[in-house]
């Protein structure tokens, strides 16, 4: 570890220090209470983002030590995801403010846990070594378990945290076991070394088993069928901003490592794992979408919908071509922004002690808040993949990747299921526009407005003028594509 290496890690270091300081503020007594936890968190995020951009330029001229190079990469791929995570966490901070104000729990702990989770996600995005990735994942998971149970006195929240923790711990163990088997066969945990070792192996059952276990562990993190059972319960029970966090930023981080591990490390065994993952993807799309239809609780519905979206994203992994890789990046943006917009709406609605959790709570929203209802329609259309929203561009990439890779049957399931998904997304539209029921109650605050406005702008802009985003995604994914043995320019 040299001083130069510190530059590579500077954003993470700043974030860790910031989050630790925030944890200590409450114990500093009266002086601490004058500070606003929200603004301090936003300041930490801003500094992290700036340092990330500065460092990413600085490292072009700085040599990384061999040890760090094997563990950690500050490449275009990771920068892309890190900025996405920071943006998502920034918006989650906005979403959380009122929610925290109404509860009697300390915002300092809450934000500092979010900061640690972000730190874990940033390590995941940068990890090129299975141990780095695993540690990042654990940091994220442990913070998430605590956050899911943040409402200690509420039964539902505790239950969600308990379920999430037990299943998460088991899946981490499975993941680790898979990693150890891969290490046993390949002799290294660096993804490129693994790829190099695999290129000489024709058939190896231990390795295949290891890959399957690793895949199972990852599928738990992205909530793909049959490792999805925790999702609806946790989303329902966790505090709503945390459900939003789990379904957006946390999932995007899992997609990032999924893509990097399978594209860089395991591409030689494509034939071995592609059919298994294709089955998982098909099951996720079918079960997620069909189960979402019957849900009356919006948080559960979004939980099932996120299972289905994990299925779509898996198309990008399975197809193992440049289109698929780009599709994962594009879809991550699209999905995060559309979903955050919807969660902002859920948080805005008020009914009894909970936020707008039931489909009925949306009734008549178009009368009382027409602009907001319009934004909500755009978010839902984006999740359904209807042009001219960004969701269509994302789905286009993933479906095209599947067709290009010859997974025609999977593409057919995917498009049919995305038509099915419109059925339950439209249920919310029906409630907002077409039902003359009890008028929706809500409290629109400035932070919520900002989040919804940003999400709306991104969703529409990327849908109508996607070219700059696509160019950025191509630039960000090129190095991973090269490592995966794909020629980025011919593949289109």
């Amino acid at each position: 570890m040299t001083w130069n290496d510190m530059i590579y890690l500077l954003p993470e270091i700043i974030l860790t220090v910031g989050a630790s300081v925030m944890l200590l503020v409450p114990v500093m007594g009266a002086r601490g209470t004058k500070l606003s936890a929200k603004w301090m968190m936003i300041a930490v995020l801003a500094v992290t983002a700036i340092s990330l951009i500065v460092c990413s330029h600085a490292v072009e001229t700085i040599v990384q030590s061999r040890q760090l190079q094997a563990m950690f990469a500050l490449d275009a791929f990771s920068i892309f995801f890190k900025l996405l995570f920071i943006a998502a966490i920034g918006m989650l901070v906005m979403l959380s403010e009122d929610f925290l104000a109404e509860s009697r729990y300390s915002p300092w702990e809450y934000y500092s846990l979010l900061g640690f989770a972000l730190c874990g996600m940033m390590f995941m995005a940068s990890g090129v070594h299975l141990i780095t990735i695993y540690i990042g994942l654990e940091l994220l998971s442990l913070s998430s378990y605590v956050l899911a149970g943040f409402y200690k006195s509420e039964l539902k929240s505790t239950e969600a945290a308990m379920k999430y923790f037990i299943l998460g711990a088991v899946s981490s163990a499975i993941l680790l076991y898979g990693i150890s088997l891969i290490y046993g066969v390949c002799g290294s945990l660096n993804l490129q070394d693994i790829a190099a070792a695999m290129s000489t192996i024709v058939q190896n059952d231990a390795l295949m088993f290891g890959i399957m276990l690793l895949g199972a562990g990852l599928c738990f993190k992205i909530a793909a069928v049959p490792f999805h059972v925790w999702t609806p319960d946790v989303y329902e029970g966790a505090p709503t901003p945390i459900s939003a966090f789990l379904s957006t930023a946390s999932k995007a981080a899992a997609f990032a490592i999924f893509a990097r591990i399978f594209y860089v490390g395991l591409h030689d065994f494509h034939l071995g794992w592609s059919n298994v993952l294709a089955t998982i993807s098909a099951l996720s799309m079918i079960l997620g979408n069909l189960a979402a239809i019957t849900q009356d609780n919006v948080k559960r519905m979004l939980g099932y919908s996120s299972i289905a979206h994990a299925g779509y994203i898996l198309l990008g992994i399975i197809s193992l071509n440049t289109l698929g890789l780009r599709g994962i990046l594009v879809y991550s943006i699209v999905y995060v922004f559309a979903n955050l917009g919807i969660w902002a709406t859920v948080l805005m609605l008020r009914r009894h002690q909970y936020a707008g959790e039931r489909v009925d709570d949306f009734e008549g929203l178009s009368h009382r808040a027409p602009l907001w209802a319009f934004a909500m329609v755009i978010f839902l259309l984006s999740l359904g993949g209807i042009p001219p929203t960004a969701g269509f561009i994302g789905k286009y990439f993933l479906f095209a990747a599947a067709v290009k890779a010859g997974f025609g049957w999977l593409a057919v399931i995917a498009v049919l299921m995305s038509a099915v998904s419109m059925f339950y997304y439209l249920r919310l539209v029906v409630a907002m526009y077409l039902r003359e029921g009890i008028e929706a109650e809500f409290a629109i605050t400035t932070p919520l407005k900002i989040v919804a406005g940003v999400c709306l702008a991104v969703t529409l802009l990327l849908g109508i003028l996607p070219a700059p985003m696509i160019d950025q995604v191509i630039a960000s994914s090129n190095n991973v594509a090269v490592r995966a043995g794909l020629t980025p320019h011919a593949g289109r």
């Binding site: 209807i386 042009p387 057919v412």
Partner: protein, 531 residues
């Protein structure tokens, strides 16, 4: 910014103006703003009519081209251009756009602002679909149309509006996402192929340009053509709607407000048939020829089934809705005769159906606004009470059933000629449909307008007012114009139709040198010498 973009986006601008500058309580201002933009759009679209060169061939077949880069990394272009077929359909759209707006004045009394915004958005989507010469762009506009129509049915519809709106949305969405896969298969065939399935690509630069696919269509292996065709077929046949996929139509029509039904019948259904003539036929010639029989059988079933079901309807609107199934069957039949005569009739019949059925829906809407019932049994003897209405209804009905000197006759007759040219059996089945068409419409007319005026509720129904009369007379004008001067219209679609026939059946014209293409002093002199 060329003329096609202007025509496409005027309604969108109108929608934005209403959204931001008109207060929602100010009903008249909303209505007149919407009308203003619809009328301006129609007037601007007339520019296309007067400046279109009907004899453009080859690179000049598609005119008013506008091409901009949009997503270069995917080969997506913003490419607009129209031939004679699109021209007529665009004019139909802008014209019916005015009718739709004006016919809603009295019918829509709540949430007017949203209503007119959606109506104008829908119009932008429809015109864009007819202009697009890039598959990606086409797909975007195609899907954009779905959302406003869903809301129009869902908010301002009848008692079962929720069911009808969702059914409409899901049916069409399912068709179009499957179509998207076909588009992708074409895209990869033109590009690098699909190695995994042993499909060799052509290695061309990635593009979504429709014209490029027109040129490479015959190179696609027949099996792949078949599957691509199936995808297109699902997308388009649901929209048409062809016989087994038609079940969304009666629900959507019956529940939609009058203007929704007018637009649905006049323009949205044409999207399906337009898709067939623009994409499926010229790009997939082998699959088209291979699937003639199944499609013609479905069309004939549609013609007769639609007519028979119309015959037994108790609800006027449902009757007109099912008659659409029958009429669109004719359009499909003429198209799959795959000769210039049949195709010309088919294209003209798309326009005719738009005008006639649009007029019938408008007429049903007018009486419904007065009496709030569409049941045939509630009426009788209306001719005495509403003579003007009765006359106009008669003209629309006659036009729809194909009386000579009105538009319907020209379309159906040409289709029958084209079909008979291919097989006399097809034509005989189709003519049964014409007879049944006369039966259900005349019987409807008899029950509603003749007989004693015995329902007291009908005794004080006012006749059509000036606004309604204006709309109906405009529609009647087009019925008569097409009926007595069809040559003007045939002239415009001559070249595109020959182009499509040439693509589907490259040797067609070589086989009949004397008849087609009908150019000719050469032909005349040949006839003279034989004398």
């Amino acid at each position: 910014m060329g003329i096609l973009n202007i025509v496409t986006y005027i309604p969108l601008i109108g929608a934005i103006v209403i959204l931001f500058f008109v207060r929602k309580e100010n009903g008249p201002a909303i209505r007149y703003t919407a009308t203003f933009f619809a009328v301006v759009d129609f007037i601007v679209s007339l520019y296309l009519w007067f400046n279109f060169d009907p004899h453009g061939k080859g690179v000049h077949l598609f005119q008013f081209r506008e091409t901009y880069t949009w997503i270069p990394s995917l080969g997506v272009q913003y490419d607009f251009g129209i031939d004679g077929i699109s021209l007529l359909l665009i004019l139909l759209t802008t014209f019916m756009g005015i009718i739709a707006v004006v016919s809603s004045y009295a019918a829509i009394d709540h949430r007017q602002k949203e209503y007119y915004i959606l109506l104008l958005l829908l119009q932008t989507g429809m015109i864009g679909t007819f202009c697009a010469l890039d598959f990606f762009l086409f797909y975007v506009f195609w899907e954009i149309m779905l959302v406003p129509m869903y809301f129009i049915i869902g908010i301002w519809g009848g008692p079962r509006k929720l069911y009808a709106a969702i059914k409409f949305f899901l049916y069409t969405l399912t068709g179009s996402v499957v179509m998207l896969l076909s588009i992708l298969a074409l895209y990869f065939f033109n590009d690098g192929g699909i190695p995994f399935l042993n499909i060799k690509g052509l290695g061309n630069a990635a593009t979504f340009s429709v014209l490029q696919y027109h040129n490479i269509g015959h190179l696609i292996p027949p099996t792949l053509q078949f599957w691509i065709f199936i995808g297109f077929f699902l997308g388009f046949a649901i929209k048409v709607p062809m016989f087994p996929f038609h079940t969304w139509l009666p629900d959507a029509h019956v529940e939609a407000p009058t203007a929704g039904s007018i637009i649905l019948a006049a323009v949205l259904l044409k999207m399906g048939t337009y898709g067939f003539v623009r994409f499926a036929l010229p790009i997939l010639p082998d699959a088209t020829k291979q699937l003639i029989i199944p499609i013609v059988v479905l069309s004939i079933i549609g013609i007769i089934y639609g007519a028979l079901v119309s015959l037994v309807q108790k609800d006027m609107k449902k009757l007109v809705a099912y008659s659409s199934v029958s009429h669109l069957g004719f359009v499909m039949l003429g198209m799959f005769a795959l000769n210039p005569m049949g195709l010309k009739g088919s294209v003209l019949q798309m326009i005719n159906h738009g005008i006639s059925t649009g007029a019938l829906f408008l007429l049903v809407g007018i009486i419904y606004e007065r009496r709030h019932t569409r049941m045939i049994a509630d009426y009788g003897g209306l001719a005495k009470q509403m003579p003007m209405y009765a006359t106009l209804f008669l003209i629309a009905a006659l036009s729809s059933m194909g009386l000579p000197a009105l538009n319907g006759f020209i379309g159906e007759f040409t289709i029958l000629l084209g079909a008979a040219n291919k097989s006399i059996v097809w034509a005989s089945f189709a003519s049964v449909g014409i007879v049944l068409g006369a039966a259900y419409l005349l019987w409807l007319y008899q029950r509603v307008f003749w007989g004693p005026l015995d329902n007291p509720a009908n005794k004080n129904v006012p006749d059509v007012n000036r606004r309604e009369l204006g709309m109906l007379l405009a529609l009647v004008f087009f019925m008569v114009w097409i009926g007595i001067k069809p040559a003007v219209f045939f002239d415009i679609i001559e070249e595109p139709v020959n182009y499509i026939v040439q693509k589907v059946d490259p040797t067609y014209f070589a086989r009949q040198p004397l008849t087609y293409p009908p150019a000719a002093p050469v032909v005349v002199s040949a006839v003279e010498t034989t004398r």
